[in-house]
Symmetry: C2
Subunit: 232 residues, 2 copies
Amino acid sequence: MTTVQDFLDERSTVVAIRATICGVTDVAQRKQDKIARRQVDKFDARRTELAVATLHTLAELGYARTSLREIAQNSEFSHGVLHYYFADKRDLIVEAVRQYERVCVTKYDEVVAHATSADQLREEFVAMFFDTLEKDATLHRLWYDLRNQSLYEEYFRADVLEIDAHREAMVWRVISRYAELREGAPTASSGTAYVTLDGIFQRALLHHLSGNAETVASLRAELPGVIDLLVA
Amino acid sequence: MTTVQDFLDERSTVVAIRATICGVTDVAQRKQDKIARRQVDKFDARRTELAVATLHTLAELGYARTSLREIAQNSEFSHGVLHYYFADKRDLIVEAVRQYERVCVTKYDEVVAHATSADQLREEFVAMFFDTLEKDATLHRLWYDLRNQSLYEEYFRADVLEIDAHREAMVWRVISRYAELREGAPTASSGTAYVTLDGIFQRALLHHLSGNAETVASLRAELPGVIDLLVA
DNA sequence: GATTTTCCTTGACGACTGTCAAGCTTTGAT
DNA sequence: ATCAAAGCTTGACAGTCGTCAAGGAAAATC
């Protein structure tokens, strides 16, 4: 299984495809476009690279104490370069948030896809739930930090709401598939199901980072029952 | 009904009772003690006053952007006085967190106490739930901010965990009383019940502060059903 | 190979931060 | 009334912050 870390590192090489050519026949023009596009791609690739470094720094230090110089130190560049690729700090953080989005929203889909029975789905979901809780703890705590910051600063609230919606949809795919396999129906709405599981995750994260292993264990023991509560 | 604001303002006059006198017979000594105690009380009262000002500033700006000078401006003193009453910024914030604790944990007890039927309890709980959501929105968003900060900085984590436990107990008093009135039993543990309702609250707060009234309304419409889900 | 463009570093700026010492003002004891 | 203590203000300190301009280094273009 790939970790979130692996995913982020790979991402640095991904190139966006752009449709900027429309009806040009001249060869020189096409060549120019090719060059321009390569430059744009290079620019975007570096932007992404720096956004990933930002994401790591944020996960480490939290929103409140993340500075541009600290971010630069987590990359291979100096702090000045950030203003070459980003308009300001906000722009950078928004990009980092969008990087996060690419990571989190497909986490359970493989579990859903390959589960053949309800019991298996439930068991593997629980396993992945607590696996990512521990393995990607700092990244998850960042998510909650950012979601909260959006209550104070409006500038990336739209991105947060979008991510939250994706997370909800992801949970709903699990629950509705589970209901299907159980040949039943969900007892709660998509929103309720999401906040319930997310609430458990948040609490487990808090106690995990507090070194409170037995609370985490009891949350794990209770989770199957909660899932069953969400499906009749 | 008193608002959280009223509660905080009243609090400034509350005086802690201390048992520092033990077996002293001399009159002059007793008088000295009385004076000393009055001074201590005065000291504590001012500490509390400044902690309340801190709480308001935190609620307004969030943890990340709250400075000592800003706090002082929200009080009637200058910034220097904060280091007369508090060792450092941490000390001040811990005290502010403890002030918050005194506010939040008895919110629903009056509802529980005076409800005579299950339907009434459920209805009044929902009403109070969304009433405080809107009225004390900034204070609630501060709570989530602080709880998250405790994932990054350990120094007031113990206080956060204590408050969280109190909130859980408060929710549990509601749920178990509701089960009693319904002549049923809770279907979930205290922890699960808490994270579920808290998750709904958090989501409602996010959408309330985003100006997304219809999402808040639909959460309100769903809440009674969720409560019933938690009680068989 | 020369020159232009892109990329990145360095160092500085003004503003803001927590902290604290010096000193003024008020209060309370004698 | 006198004096000491408590309470509070002011201003400065060493750091850090985001931002940006100047200029060197590297790469692409011709």
